[in-house]
C-alpha cells in the first residue's frame, strides 16, 4: 500500500548566489511497512530528499504525496500536525531537548497531542521498559551516552505511533555495536508495529538491513533495489 510518493522532485539551493541542484527530479513510491535506506555518497542529496519527504523542507519543483494528499499544499499549521501525528524523526545528532529528561523528551510529543499527563507517562514508561532504557528515565541528555540518547530519540519518534519514521544518518555518531543495537530496535518496531522507516545513510551496517535500497548520485536516483 502506497504511503509516500514523489514526482519530479527537485531542489535547488542558493550557495552564495550560485544555484546548487541538490535533487534533479526524483520519482519514487514508498509503501507502508517498508524499511528503506536512501544511500549515496556525500552531497548526493540523501538528506535533502529525506527532508522533503518528511515535510521539513519545500521542493523547488515537483510534488510529494502522503496518503494521496499533496504535502506542500498544506499550511504550516497542518504540516506541524502531520509531523506530530504521522511522522517521527531521528537525527544524526540525536537532538533531544537538553533541559528535559529522557522521560520528558519522550512525553513531549504526546503532550503536544494533548494526551493527559498520567496516560502519557504510563505509555512512555512502558515503551522505555520494553526497549530496555527505563533506567534512563530521569537522566538529561548530557548525562547519557550517544547511543543512549539515540535510543531515547527513537522512542520519541515512535511514541505517537507514526506512519513513517525518517532517520537521518542515525548511526553516524555511534560505534558499530551501539549502532547495531539501535538498528535492531528500529527493525523490531518496523516488524512489530508496521511502522515505515526511511533512512538516509551511507553506513554499510544500515544498508545491509535495508529491505529496499535506493542509491542516489548527483541528485538523481541511480538504483532502486
Amino acid at each position: 500500500m502506497e504511503i509516500i510518493k514523489c514526482e519530479n522532485l527537485q531542489k535547488i539551493y542558493q550557495d552564495n548566489g550560485v544555484p546548487v541542484h541538490a535533487l534533479k527530479g526524483i520519482n519514487l513510491t514508498i509503501n507502508k511497512g517498508e524499511f528503506t535506506v536512501i544511500a549515496g555518497p556525500s552531497g548526493s542529496g540523501k538528506t535533502t530528499l529525506l527532508n522533503l519527504l518528511g515535510a521539513l523542507d519545500k521542493p523547488t519543483e515537483g510534488t510529494v504525496y502522503f496518503n494521496g494528499e499533496v504535502l506542500y499544499k498544506k499550511k504550516r499549521r497542518e504540516l506541524s500536525r502531520l509531523r506530530l501525528e504521522n511522522f517521527g524523526f531521528v537525527f544524526q545528532a540525536y537532538n533531544l531537548i537538553p533541559v528535559l529528561t529522557a522521560l520528558e523528551n519522550i512525553e513531549f510529543s504526546m503532550m503536544l497531542l494533548g494526551i493527559p499527563e498520567k496516560e502519557r507517562r504510563e505509555k512512555a514508561i512502558t515503551l522505555m521498559e520494553e526497549l530496555g532504557i527505563a533506567e534512563l528515565a530521569n537522566k538529561r541528555p548530557n548525562e547519557m551516552s550517544g547511543g543512549q540518547q539515540q535510543r531515547v530519540a527513537v522512542v520519541r519518534a515512535i511514541v505517537n505511533d507514526p506512519d513513517v519514521v525518517f532517520a537521518d544518518e542515525p548511526t553516524a555518531n555511534l560505534d558499530s555495536k551501539t549502532g547495531d543495537n539501535l538498528l535492531n530496535l528500529m527493525q523490531e518496531m518496523n516488524e512489530k508495529k508496521q511502522i515505515t522507516f526511511i533512512f538516509s545513510s551511507h553506513d554499510k551496517q544500515v544498508m545491509e538491513r535495508a529491505k529496499r535500497l535506493l542509491i542516489l548520485k548527483d541528485g538523481l536516483l541511480e538504483k532502486d533495489n
Binding site: 499549521r77 506541524s80 537532538n95 510529543s109 520519541r156
Partner: protein, 405 residues
C-alpha cells in the same frame, strides 16, 4: 510541560537570566522609590494646606471663596453650626472670622490675612497651636493677643510681648483697628502662608471689624479625608443656595490638578522605565532564541505548532518579568520601610521646598496606583519585549533551523 520547559530554559544561562531579572528588579525599585517620594511630597503639600487653614470642608456664605468680602458673613452661625454638628463624618469644626488687613509695628507694616479664631476649636482643626516656636498659643476667644509667623515677626521687627496694630475695613466702609500684643510666633512648612497669615481671638476680630456674633467660615475636619466630598455635598444640600460647602478639592483646585498631573506623569515615567526594560528583554530573548535555533527546529520537526513555540518564548519572558517584579516589590518596599519610613531629610533644599508648602523632611508614601501599574506594566512589558524574538523563532524553516550551527 510548556511552563516547565520555559522555566528550565531560563536557567540554562543563569548569569544572563539573573542579569535581566536584576535589571527588572532595579527598574521596579526605582519606580517604587520615585513614586513614594513624589507621592509623599504631593501628599505633604496637600495635607500641609489642609492642616494649616484649608481643612477638609469649609462652609461660607455663598461667594466668599471667590471674594473674601467682609460683608459676606454668616449672619446666623448657630443654625449652620447645628447642621454641621449633626452631619455624619464630621469630626471637628472651628468658626473663623477672616479678613484682609494691614499689620503694623513701629518699624514696618505688612498686608496679611487676619484670622479670628476660637483657640480651643482651632486646635483640633489646624496645626497652628503645634507650630508655635516661641511664646505661646492663644489662650481665649477674646483678649488682645496675636500669634504671627517667624518670618512676619522678622519683617515687622517684633518679638514676644511687643505690640502691633491690626487694621481692616468694617462692613460700613470705615477702618476698624486694634492693638494686639504678640504672644506667640509660629513657623510652618509653607513660607507663603507664614508671610501672610496672623491669628487673633475670634471675639477680638468681631469687635475690631464691628461684626459681633458673625463669622465668615466654618472649617471642618472629617473622620477620613476621603469623606470630604460626601460631607460637603450633604451640607450643601442641607444648607441651601445661600451657602457654599466646599471640599478641599474645590478649595485647592490647583493642588488637586497637580496631584492628577503627577499621577499621569507617573504613568509616563513608568512607561519610560518599561521601555528601557523592553530593550533588555529583547536583547536577552534574542540571544536565547539564537542559541536555541537548532532546538527550535527540532521542536518544529516533532510537530510543535508555531503558536506553542511563540507561547513558550513569551512564557519565558513573562517568568523573568514576574520574578523581577516580585523581587523588585519586595526590595523596593523593604527599602522604603527600612530606610525611608522615618522620612528623607532634605533640609538643604528646605527654603525652596517651603515655598511649595513642603517641609524639609519628606515622608515617602507608596501609592496603590503605582503598585497596580508595576504589577501589570512590568510583566506585560516583558511579554511585549519577547514578541520580536518569538516572531523571529517561528519564522524559521524547520530544516534550516536544524542545520543551524
Amino acid at each position: 510541560m510548556l511552563l516547565r520547559l520555559a522555566w528550565r530554559n531560563i536557567w540554562r544561562n543563569k548569569r544572563r537570566s539573573l542579569i535581566v531579572i536584576g535589571s527588572v528588579i532595579v527598574g521596579v525599585i526605582a519606580t517604587i522609590l520615585m513614586d513614594a517620594l513624589q507621592n509623599g511630597m504631593i501628599h505633604q503639600m496637600l495635607f500641609n494646606q489642609i492642616n494649616l487653614n484649608v481643612s477638609n470642608v469649609q462652609v461660607h456664605k455663598k461667594g466668599f471663596k471667590d471674594k473674601k468680602d467682609i460683608n459676606n458673613f454668616i449672619s446666623k452661625p448657630a443654625k449652620v453650626e447645628t447642621i454641621i454638628k449633626n452631619q455624619p463624618h464630621v469630626k471637628f469644626y472651628s468658626k473663623r472670622v477672616i479678613t484682609f488687613g494691614l499689620l503694623s509695628s513701629t518699624d514696618n507694616s505688612s498686608g496679611v490675612y487676619i484670622y479670628g479664631i476660637n483657640p480651643s476649636q482651632e486646635k483640633s482643626v489646624s496645626i497652628i497651636s503645634k507650630s508655635i516656636v516661641k511664646g505661646k498659643y492663644l489662650d481665649a476667644s477674646d483678649g488682645r493677643e496675636i500669634v504671627l509667623s517667624k518670618a512676619l515677626a522678622k519683617k515687622l521687627n517684633v518679638t514676644i510681648g511687643d505690640k502691633v496694630v491690626g487694621m481692616a475695613n468694617t462692613p460700613s466702609g470705615s477702618i476698624g483697628s486694634d492693638v494686639f500684643r504678640v504672644v506667640g510666633i509660629f513657623k510652618t512648612a509653607s513660607s507663603e502662608f507664614d508671610k501672610t497669615t496672623v491669628f487673633i481671638p475670634i471675639v477680638s476680630a468681631q469687635q475690631m471689624l464691628n461684626i459681633p456674633g458673625k463669622i465668615h467660615e466654618f472649617a471642618i475636619i472629617t473622620d477620613k479625608y476621603e469623606n470630604a466630598d460626601i460631607v460637603s455635598k450633604a451640607l450643601q444640600k442641607k444648607l441651601g443656595k445661600k451657602y457654599e460647602a466646599l471640599s478641599y478639592n474645590e478649595i485647592l483646585p490647583l493642588l488637586v490638578l497637580q496631584m492628577d498631573l503627577y499621577k499621569q506623569l507617573l504613568i509616563i515615567v513608568n512607561l519610560i522605565i518599561a521601555l528601557a526594560l523592553i530593550f533588555g528583554i529583547i536583547n536577552a530573548m534574542l540571544m536565547a532564541v539564537y542559541e536555541r535555533i537548532r532546538e527550535i527546529g527540532v521542536l518544529m520537526a516533532v510537530g510543535m505548532k508555531n503558536s506553542k513555540i511563540f507561547s513558550m518564548i513569551l512564557i519565558e519572558a513573562l517568568i523573568i518579568g514576574v520574578l523581577g517584579t516580585i523581587f523588585g516589590i519586595i526590595f523596593g518596599y523593604g527599602i522604603n520601610a527600612l530606610l525611608l519610613s522615618g522620612g528623607i531629610d532634605l533640609r538643604w533644599f528646605a527654603e525652596s521646598l517651603s515655598s511649595f508648602g513642603v517641609g524639609a523632611i519628606i515622608y515617602p508614601k507608596i501609592s496603590l496606583e503605582n503598585f497596580i501599574q508595576i504589577i501589570t506594566i512590568i510583566p506585560l512589558v516583558s511579554v511585549v519585549g519577547a514578541m520580536y524574538p518569538a516572531l523571529k523563532a517561528i519564522r524559521l524553516e524547520p530544516v534550516s533551523a536544524i542545520r543551524y550551527v
